[in-house]
Symmetry: C3
Subunit: 468 residues, 3 copies
Amino acid sequence: MSLANRSLVTIDDLSASEIESVFSLAREMEGGIEKQTDVCQGMIMASLFFEPSTRTRLSFEAAMHRLGGNVIGVSDVESTSLAKGESIADMARIVGSYADILVLRHPWEGAAKVVADYAGVPVINAGDGGHQHPTQTLLDLYTIRKERGSLKGLTIALWGDLKYGRTTHSLILALAKFGANMLFCPSPGLEVPPNVIRKLITEYGGEIETHDVTKKLDESFPIDAVYKTPESPHQLAMMPDVNLEVELRKGVDALYVTRTQKERFSDGESKGKSRKFPVVNRKFLSGKEFRKTMVMHPLPRVDELDYDVDSDPRGMYFKQAAHGVPIRMALLSLLLGCKKPSTFEKDFPEPQVEYPVYNRGYAVTCPNGRCVSVQETETKYLVPEFLITSRDPLTLRCVYCEHGFRPGFVASTDWHEGTLEHKKYHRVDSHFARTIKIENLVLFDTERQAQAMGFMPSHFVSESPDDK
Amino acid sequence: MSLANRSLVTIDDLSASEIESVFSLAREMEGGIEKQTDVCQGMIMASLFFEPSTRTRLSFEAAMHRLGGNVIGVSDVESTSLAKGESIADMARIVGSYADILVLRHPWEGAAKVVADYAGVPVINAGDGGHQHPTQTLLDLYTIRKERGSLKGLTIALWGDLKYGRTTHSLILALAKFGANMLFCPSPGLEVPPNVIRKLITEYGGEIETHDVTKKLDESFPIDAVYKTPESPHQLAMMPDVNLEVELRKGVDALYVTRTQKERFSDGESKGKSRKFPVVNRKFLSGKEFRKTMVMHPLPRVDELDYDVDSDPRGMYFKQAAHGVPIRMALLSLLLGCKKPSTFEKDFPEPQVEYPVYNRGYAVTCPNGRCVSVQETETKYLVPEFLITSRDPLTLRCVYCEHGFRPGFVASTDWHEGTLEHKKYHRVDSHFARTIKIENLVLFDTERQAQAMGFMPSHFVSESPDDK
Amino acid sequence: MSLANRSLVTIDDLSASEIESVFSLAREMEGGIEKQTDVCQGMIMASLFFEPSTRTRLSFEAAMHRLGGNVIGVSDVESTSLAKGESIADMARIVGSYADILVLRHPWEGAAKVVADYAGVPVINAGDGGHQHPTQTLLDLYTIRKERGSLKGLTIALWGDLKYGRTTHSLILALAKFGANMLFCPSPGLEVPPNVIRKLITEYGGEIETHDVTKKLDESFPIDAVYKTPESPHQLAMMPDVNLEVELRKGVDALYVTRTQKERFSDGESKGKSRKFPVVNRKFLSGKEFRKTMVMHPLPRVDELDYDVDSDPRGMYFKQAAHGVPIRMALLSLLLGCKKPSTFEKDFPEPQVEYPVYNRGYAVTCPNGRCVSVQETETKYLVPEFLITSRDPLTLRCVYCEHGFRPGFVASTDWHEGTLEHKKYHRVDSHFARTIKIENLVLFDTERQAQAMGFMPSHFVSESPDDK
């Protein structure tokens, strides 16, 4: 196990034991944070922030300086060549020839993967749109683990904007990886996205029990869904609401509050959507279930977390933020190969799911308008690529933004070998569609797209033309 | 006397002998500016500039690098989490956990005090709105002192925008502290603010003689007011205008020219207000009183100081700017505890004024719209706090922006002990108001505010309802 | 020959053998790029970027860090005192007192010369408007020289925006200096500016043969003009088009592709002007003349250079960009005096042209609206200055932006010694104008200007008043 020359794009890029080795080194560095100035002496980190940031950027830069390294950087998209229409792949290749490691924040989902693919040096994702923010997740986990000793079997409540809060997407998967249970408490309309839920169920094997949000909205602790780790006793997930409340009396280990990411709302979404959601303050925290709860927040906060919690010993968010420096010091020095990870005798079991890949390079595209693969400057060179995460119903996951979706129409490459009249497309849910072998699949978003490529509708398609 | 771990928010935070110790170290560093790279080795300065700046930011950063330290920073408010609605207290706590010292420029008056209150590490105010800019004052004083040997008894003319030019507010108080005399020559409408004048008189014991501006505006050297240091012979201040001119023939030691800070004008203020004010050029400087005058300017200049002075030996402004680096090197290394201040046998007498504090946390607020204490994001946690700088007339000074003002209405907490009918409010200038003990005072901006808090008007208030 | 304490404003500031010494040191540094951290230990580079840039700024900053030096900087004109109306001369003097070397990018043509004139420390031009970008030229030359061993006698095709692409202006002159031949292939309307052409002919002694662009536009390789180095056999330049194509079969050594600099178009220029110009892709490069061609690009690219060339061994542009770091390391360490240039036995012949200077400080001004000498903040101190590059027709070259032009009217200072009736002005192309001695010339843009300064029209001027 070596971390040298690897990139961190999603939290899945690190196994649980690799994460433990980052924690182990972070703890060591925390012990003498000003004595590490020879660890990365002479090395250069490029700090590429194409979206607003204070804490993440500054803590990465502080971490690199604490290690004795240097920083070059961009903190404003307007002042860069990206404003001249350059692709991020070109930017990655060039900055990769100047620096030893790249740290990237970018509004496009999947941007960090593209930069990692082209830079030629390690790349750390410091937030790519609403997708992931894995170093935030590392310091979140580190904070809980340091206070509680372990993550296994803990109950963590996730609170607020679980849709656009990218920090929570990484965190949810990481908590599952370490065997924690989760309570999802989203603001109305800002639930955990289906692709994250699907990944949880299919790859981590846990169970999700959803609750009726509208019924519980006005109550003090509006739980929308519960995730039970597979190694836990399964009672909770199978209980009705009343028993859930009984179970909660055992207490919540951490309440992870998030800000509503209004800047990511699409135009149709009301900005006032989360108005009625309860504020986390000392009164809210007076319930028995919160007696020993760590109150966490990735910060910045706006109104969702009251200042009266600052002086409460349960308020962990400033300690959590301070952990950003040692965690990032540990990560930088491991990826740069300046430190070796400690080895752990017993490794954690990893989710081992291998999905077939679909990358014909034409026809079907990612429907997520924020995905890097559909941006005008990037389509010139990027080949769309998808994992087939389910055969029935046929479901794709974009390898860049990890958005899950179902294509509309399919055909088979079998026609190559047969006569031209076999060059037909079908509805994805038709009987025939299900018979095509995975390696022969050709997928389309629309009928128009299929026809533009010379395919003709099959009988079944033409029978219901109103579906086009 | 130690300067380690202290903050510099206003020039008053340093005693005269502490300032002398900064000068002494600055001179030492100026002697070998490239040989100091081990002084702050491995330390991190956060350079937080939320307003435009070239020279201040760059000279702080150059100073830290000359000391062998590192810099992390923000130079654009748009690219930070403050744009997401974060309070500066949260920002301070977090950046304070990344860096060893913070340097802050911010448009809100009093912002540096808030950051110093929350950061947990030393904070240097690099300009907070129109309030103060103490390191500029240090290098201004250093420049005069280096050229003239001492500040005591010198005559310094302050020229231009004395209202919004924050550099002059710090400088005026510092010059008074060192026993210099001052001539105030403001552009019309841009006179020294009343709170600075009041502080000068009450705390430094000097005398102010005002002159009729309108009468003198078209003359070549339009003096608006004269400040005489208390230890000087008092003749000048008591003389009529003719004698002032006689006195001036002794010469002005320094002419401190400032740019009109149009960006701080409130909407009502005409941008063309200072049009007729004389330009400082070689012709202007041909008068006898300017024969040995040091011409100073905090820069940037626009039109108030002509380029023909650049080659004149009296032009000191580029030398003055260059002093920014050694002064800031000295200050950084002292506050970081990397250097110890030299001790001076004889200390200067310090103004010793202790005012009572008013901080009930409700009702009266600072009327300065630029004050940090009235900003939407800051009112969530900041408790308004005031010094009672005068009992009659009752006058408050905001502890954040140092703005002085008079509240409208008062009540007494005596009603707590009596019957409810004592819960009455009074005009601040009423007889009854003057009888309330300072520790019992409750202050209101308006009657509406008093009534909203359950107080009723006293007889005298209701007699003149048109005053509301 | 020493490079210490010198500035690099235009590529002409370095002789060919000085350039060779930069290359020699760059190659040495490329061999151990991480072992140079003691070369500029403790020194400070100010990185002043008043226009968008990624690669140039980051590679300068990376270079300084690789040398062990520190960086202070500005990357956004909005956040600096220039936004307060400060002149760049003032900025230069102040930053020059903070840092050991300045690197400047600025939108005004000639800005780097002004900064170099005032800073008091070495200044490197990192691009001044459409004028020059000499370090880009150094890395371009370095790339060709490294691949081909020498520049002499090579054939380099320059492609795309040769009008606003400042990188090409520096490159054209440098290629001429090293004895290379050039093929100019501009997008329609974006030809090499006349002042560059004039300099090539008069100072480098080569020959230019122009071709009919419109006739050749739709062909695959639209050559507009050919420059033959004087030491080459002159057949090519004197050949008709058919033979040019014969000659081309020998092959193009490098094809230097540039992006259309739409951001520099004046309002009148159509943004769609270059639409029909061929894209450089593998198909385009399939011609015999490109068999061994190095494909270069200063980057960023937009659509003019296809991604399909990236994997082609002829694509040199990422290698070219990577050379930015060692070239800038070499240059910084030489100008800072931290390294000495190697000496070459045989020097290259340098163009030795001495032009008379015209700098009366009044009347004629540079007609280039982007020239630093005509900007409102700079006219307060800058004296216009021109080289008289030709006597007949009388032609001036601005010493700042190097724009060439012809003044409208002339007079002679002879009238000082004669009677007032001699104080007359003449058309520049009149017989009398040609008789005025160069040292007596007084030049005007317009008749109005001449009259405003007290000159009267001569007979010949008044004969054609419609010319005013």
